[in-house]
């Protein structure tokens, strides 16, 4: 992957080429042919004036005549691209597939980004009333506070943990640790951490980021041609839920995550307890807590206690977001799903350096499209 952050001097394709070349080199595949390329980006057309970027990427990488597609599934574009690549290989059509997710967003005003992202909500039921994703996060948080006793301090603790992890990740957008009292509990916290969608505040939201991430997938029997430490995609799940949060059976439950995670665990013949670490989709810190429960790691309502007890810290029993998560690693929307799998791969190979999770054998990731109405779940394991 590229470093996530602000890349004024590079185009979206520049970032995706850079990331792709790094992955190909890492796999020893720079001189090899690739059968297909999946390019994931949510807003290439809207923000970068580019469509059909799969074709652009395969051309720039000189991989013609490989098959090429652009995959778009909101912020789950990366996850969907990996799923499609997996299917292409599993059905026997392709042997080697490159997946690159990328986004270049920082050159656009924040309000414009928020608006484009809001268009993935239900237009008639939600968007038209002024609903944005932060407002949905605010309403979910309000439900959690009233029903499960979640506190504002819990929201802040997720941010502090992820910033600490991000400070150990040279690819992270934000590598600056923050102090709990800097964003919660002190008089200065009111200025430092202003309200965005009560009770969600600025430091509970991930940043807007430029960047790209890539993985090279190949058929299991061919893995040894590339590496001695192949990492297996053992399980994949994907599920949808009602688009409008109002229509969900219980707006405090991410049903699509329950279903997709269960599929991934079933396919990989594992359970949540078998996981050494998890990369969750913390676009808002509330989501890390809710996902940790609905993916099956903790009982409903018990996610914040696990956080407070240090279970999900880097040294804990189940490190969540050792990369820094979306909060600190950053969230170039189309790249995130791929970046999560890149992190799991590095962790399972023992290459995560200062943020290495000890004895990492199996990892879980989930990538949210929409406000949790379309989710991809992955289980990866060391071969």
């Amino acid at each position: 992957m590229t470093k996530f952050g602000r890349h004024d001097d590079k185009t979206l394709i520049d970032l995706m080429v850079e990331s792709s070349l790094r992955a190909l080199e890492d796999a020893g595949a720079s001189e090899k042919n690739v059968d297909a390329v999946y390019a994931a980006s949510m807003l290439a057309g809207e923000l970068n004036n580019r469509v059909a970027i799969g074709s652009a990427l395969v051309d720039q990488l000189a991989l013609i005549p490989a098959a090429a597609d652009r995959v778009e599934n909101g912020p789950a574009s990366g996850g969907s691209a990996i799923k499609n690549a997996y299917c292409g290989i599993a059905c026997g059509m392709y042997d080697t597939v490159l997946v690159t997710g990328g986004e270049k967003m920082r050159h656009v005003p924040g309000e414009t980004i928020t608006d484009y992202i809001a268009t993935m909500t239900n237009i008639e039921a939600e968007y038209v009333h002024g609903v944005t994703l932060p407002s949905l996060a605010g309403m979910l948080t309000r439900l959690y506070m009233e029903r499960y006793g979640l506190t504002e301090e819990d929201l802040a603790r997720v941010a502090v943990k992820n910033h600490l992890n991000g400070s150990k990740n040279p690819y992270a957008h934000i590598q600056q640790p923050i102090a709990l009292e800097g964003i919660y509990g002190s008089p200065e916290a009111e200025v430092n951490n202003p309200m965005i969608a009560d009770p969600i505040r600025m430091y509970h939201c991930c940043p807007v980021t430029d960047g790209a991430a890539s993985v090279l997938l190949c058929a299991t029997e061919k893995a040894k041609e590339f590496t001695d430490t192949p990492i297996r995609i053992a399980g994949i799940g994907q599920a949808t839920d009602k688009m409008a949060v109002q229509d969900r059976k219980d707006p405090a439950v991410l049903e699509a995550l329950r279903v997709s995670a269960a599929q991934a665990f079933k396919m990989s013949k594992t359970t949540p307890q078998d996981m050494s670490l998890a990369e969750l989709h913390d676009a808002f810190t509330i989501l890390e807590i809710v996902e940790s429960e609905d993916a099956g790691f903790f009982k409903k309502g018990a996610g914040s206690k696990a956080l407070r007890d240090g279970v999900t810290a880097l040294e804990g029993r189940l490190p969540i977001n050792p990369s820094g998560g979306l909060k600190a690693r950053g969230h170039p929307v189309g790249a995130t799903g791929v970046a999560q799998v890149v992190e799991l791969t590095w962790q399972l190979r023992g290459e995560a350096d200062k943020r290495q999770v000890k004895n990492a054998k199996r990892g879980f990731s989930c990538n949210l499209g929409g406000f949790a109405n379309n989710i991809l779940a992955f289980v990866l394991e060391r071969s």
């Binding site: 005003p109 600056q176 923050i178 800097g182 008089p187 200065e188 009111e190 200025v191 430092n192 951490n193």
Partner: protein
Amino acid sequence: MKGRVTYRGEFPVSEDIESILGVDWDVPRKPYPAKTVLLPTGERMVIRETAREEAPKILQAITPLLTVSRDFYDIVAARQYAELLGWYRRRVRKEFCLVGIVDGKLAGIVNSRAYDQKTHISYHTVALKRGARVGAQLFAAKHEHSMETQGAEEILVTAESPIGFRRWIVEWGLQVKPGVQHELGGVKTWVITRDIYNKVKPRLVMGSRPVPEDLLKRSATFEIAPLDWVSKE
């Protein structure tokens, strides 16, 4: 009429011309009581008033921003540069400047001037240390100086960048003052009245006083750290 030329260091200055063009910059004024504020990073920033003699060093610190067009840094830096230079060269009336210092390094600069006893004009806010809400704290501090230390009744504010607008004018709930042009000649002038200031103060103006003596001594001077977020081309 021929003035008597006196050599004063670098610039030969005609005393009579200076008495015509030089403004009453050296206005007796209650000094700003320095304070520290906690940043999200856990670091403590010292906010203190600066003396005119420190202006050249501040100008050095903001020079790299003169060509950074994103987020309107160039115009904000260029204008603050002109304002502080004007203050230093005795061509701008009753200006004051506060700085934020973190770990001995200059983190940000804010400046305003007193139009008269009642009305102050807010000039600019430049944050050199990014991503730590330095600008928000310094913005509040300079208005604290105007309102509380100097007893102003209103402060005229404008903004060049959307970030400045959103962060400060929206966050403070400022009203437009119709029929008045801000000195900087922009589209609208917003005003901080005493009422607005008192209303937002509990939420937006804070800090610890006094500054511990050794920290205050350390912050009597500052270093200029390289701006790693400004791209190098």
